[in-house]
Amino acid sequence: MKVTAARMLARDWRGGELGVLVAALILAVAVVTGISAFTSRLQAALEQESHRFLAADVVVTSAAEMPASWRQEAQSLAIDTAQTLSFPSMVFAADDNMFLASIKAVSEHYPLRGELRYSEQAFAEAQPAAQGPESGSVWLDSRLFALLDVSIGDSVSVGEATFQVAAAVRSEPDQSPSIYNMGPRVLMHFSDIAATEVVQPGSRVEYRQLFAGEARLIQRFVTWLEPQLQPGQRLLDVKQGQPGIGSALQRAESFLLLAGSLAVVLAGVAIALAARRFSERHTDYVAIMKSLGASSGAINRLYGSSLLLLGLAATTLGCALGWLMQAGFFAIFAEHLPVLPGPSGIRPYAIGFTTAFTCLLCFAWPPLRRLAQASPLRVLRRDMPHENRRSLGDYLLGLLAVAALMFWYSGDWRLSLAVLLGLAITIVLGLGLALSLLRGGRLLGMSAGSIWRLALAGLQRRGSANALQVVIFAMAIMLLLVLVLLRTSLIDEWQAQLPPDAPNHFMLNIAPEQLQSVTDMLRSHSIPSEALYPMVSGRVMSVNGEDLPQTDDKQQGRRQRGANFTWADSLPAGNELLAGQWWETGSTAAEVSLEEEFAERLGLAVGDTVGLLIAAEALEVKVSSIRKLDWQSFRPNFFMVFPPKVLADYPATFMTSFHLDAEQKSFLNQLIRTFPTITVIEMDLLVEQVRAIIDQVSAAIELVLAVILAAGALVLVAGVQASVDMRMQESSILRALGAGRRLILGGLAIEFATMGLFAGLLATIAAEFSVFALQVWVMEMSYAPTPWLWPLGIALGVLLITGLGLYSCRKVVSSPPLAVLREL
């Protein structure tokens, strides 16, 4: 057959028949590709960013030096390596000044990721360092300058070695957020460790072996390395690196993938709608071609190859548009993103391609395939009904395709399931409710005024088509509501986690007699602080009468642990009781409340007993409750909390946290000089980093949301358009018979508003279920019902559908009826 698909497409294109389908297809590919490329580049960037917190891509920690063969293997794979060693030690200066510091020795190339920052004077402005201190020199924590009474150029000694103070160390990328056992930092060169003679077998030290390189090579290396790890050696990657960032990133990732999946669903719906309209408009063509002698095989080949060509063209264009879209995102957001976007790879384009062809095959092909069965008799009788009605099989095929695409796209079956649940609820409720309500309107409508009768008659005449449309509108609105809800709760939670005045400094080792003067000093500088927590150091020795092993590196399981205890009369802020009972005020019972994970590690449950060693005295207590903590809150948190009277006789110090603005930093000098024994830990740079990342992620989420909203709006437009022809025709006939503008527009408005009302209601119900499932299963957030969703969802449905519907049908009252009829 010489009527080639390309010619037919070209002719259809010129005739304007293809516009909707092509636009839907290109939009689908562009949105899916654009979002996918954007998120994967952003993910690559954010992952890069989060690698900062490890100072590497992966890290192995160990209590003993690690074999050199690991570094050789890594180097043979072109993976960069660096080593660090941390241990506590006394630092000595002139005039017998000394202080217990946390020493960290770093090799060349440290850090492999992120930035080491230093300043030329204590607390002066920090700047990035190309590398750590040179051999023979050390960088000191700002507050050590005051504590040791030294300045740049002076000498200090660690063990047997003497060093020159070269700079103040301000921040390390892999600074541990843990606030315990952390003296002020002394940074030295790795090769100087031997000279100090401090590190002996059995010393409490932590070696870290850092690796960084291309993701593929790192993956290969990790596979090689993992089987060789000894007990006590731990492999860290981004997910374990920084709990605060980790969960924020993971949720953001879930959100972005969800958004992408929704783009797939919306694309599928848009294509299905467009293909249906396309095939309806082509039924007459096929009838004419068949009357002229075209066989059904020839027609199938014609439409099949047309679809193929269309798919290829739309995919190419869509991918190009998608590329432009993500490039545009990054161009607009370049200044807000301190990280450079990573590469997107080929996957987003493969996703675009697969989405286009899956959608064509599962949504567009079924109605087109049925075109070949159109009766040639249509050339004699144009009023014959369209035969390309969709079967249940078509819908199932479409739903399956959407599910498969979503799963492939997000790689998360729980996420896919949560959305599919919402869609299923919409479909089932929608068809049932819409059909029965639309039918029920018949009796009601008969006695009503004529606009109502017209509108309700219109609704009922197209009962099943309308029900289907209601479902499609509801699906689009539901997906948009789900995204808006999740975005709101995610961003709210992040903001709540890190309010602008969140504590960013910790103060430890406050002696009981200093409490008053420290509080006064903070107050006189109007520095807001958290409550003061007492702190007693001790060690967990036994569980249920059974002694725990002492060694802490050879044993993977339970072992003795040092911990800091506090006391409180009531449950500390931000804690949540998971099991057991909180004690009554004034309790003297020997009991303790444990943090969830701590209890799990020791295998403890409510009712068990724990043996402790505090200030060389043994104490046996019963576990009376288990708590959950928010480790991301930057508040003092404790594994073990006791009733005040139980710890009252042990030596205690106090700790607190407070917020200091950047311009108030000099307050620290004053504080340390006044109270030299107090330890201050600066977390401000870390807090700022976390906030910067969260800001970026929030911006990305807002942006993606905007794109999906646009896609959703397009589905609504396509949905309204699909029904416009028939409504226009009927309205034109009414118009020709002399119906006024008010009657026609009023009738149409009621019809669309009714559909919008049902769609909004369904969407809201389904969105609640979906958001519940997503929050509980996927995002691990707590679910809270959203009453404002109901009026919003319903109003959105009514206003959007009525507005779009009337806009699409506006011609009916502005053009002569015959002109409208002729165009249809």
């Binding site: 057959m1 004419i288 004699l380």
Partner: protein, 220 residues
């Protein structure tokens, strides 16, 4: 050439069976021109659909050029139409996305004719639309559209031409012009013409008239 034996057509409508054709017997010789006349609803168009193989009969048979249409499946009948049959319809039935030339080329391309373009141009010139080859149907008047349809019908040189109320959508002057064209071309090509109409003047120009009433042949 065309032979209809006891042709019947029944359709189910609103739960009961409606008999549209009640056993038609008809024979049309090669080169003959026949008008099928009758009031609206007498079954004219249904008969045309069955004779042209556009529809299947409930009973009886249609034989054209020794081929029994009922023995063919839908695709077989399509191939048969491509080889033997041309149409002119009341509502023209041009494809709106194709130009006049492309519309005429369509059946030629379906038959795989290599000279589709020359043949189509020739026939469009024959119906005096030479200067308007690249116009779309919506840019043509009703009469012009029907001339394109006539060019399309004759371009593939069918043995039989079926025309369904060819002047039904045209004013009387344009209609007459179209009819003259139709009969001229018919003479030139010796085509068998079966024409459905309720226009008696048009029917008079055919060699034979078959009058239908209520699904049966009333008179010849």
């Amino acid at each position: 050439m065309i032979k209809a034996e006891n042709l019947q057509k029944r359709v189910a409508m609103a739960g009961r069976e409606l008999e549209i054709l009640k056993g038609i017997n008809l024979e049309i010789k090669s080169g003959e021109t026949v008008a099928v006349v009758g009031a609206s609803g007498s079954g004219k168009s249904t008969l045309l659909g069955l004779l042209a193989g556009l529809d299947e009969a409930s009973a009886g048979r249609v034989v054209i050029a020794d081929t029994e249409l009922g023995q063919l499946d839908e695709d077989g009948r399509a191939a048969f139409r491509a080889d033997h049959i041309g149409f002119v319809f009341q509502s023209f039935q041009l494809l709106p996305a194709l130009t006049a030339l492309e519309n005429v080329m369509l059946p030629l391309e379906l038959k795989g004719r290599r000279d589709a373009r020359q043949q189509a141009e020739h026939f469009l010139q024959r119906v005096e639309l030479g200067p308007r080859l690249d116009h779309y149907p919506r840019q043509l008047s009703g009469g012009e559209q029907q001339r394109v349809a006539i060019a399309r019908a004759f371009a593939s040189e069918p043995k039989i031409l079926f025309a369904d109320e060819p002047t039904g959508n045209l004013d009387s002057r344009t209609g007459e012009h179209i009819i003259n064209l139709l009969f001229e071309l018919n003479r030139e090509h010796g085509t068998t013409l079966v024409l459905v109409t309720h226009d008696l003047k048009l029917a008079q120009r055919c060699q034979r008239r078959v009058q239908l009433e209520d699904g049966a042949v009333l008179a010849e």
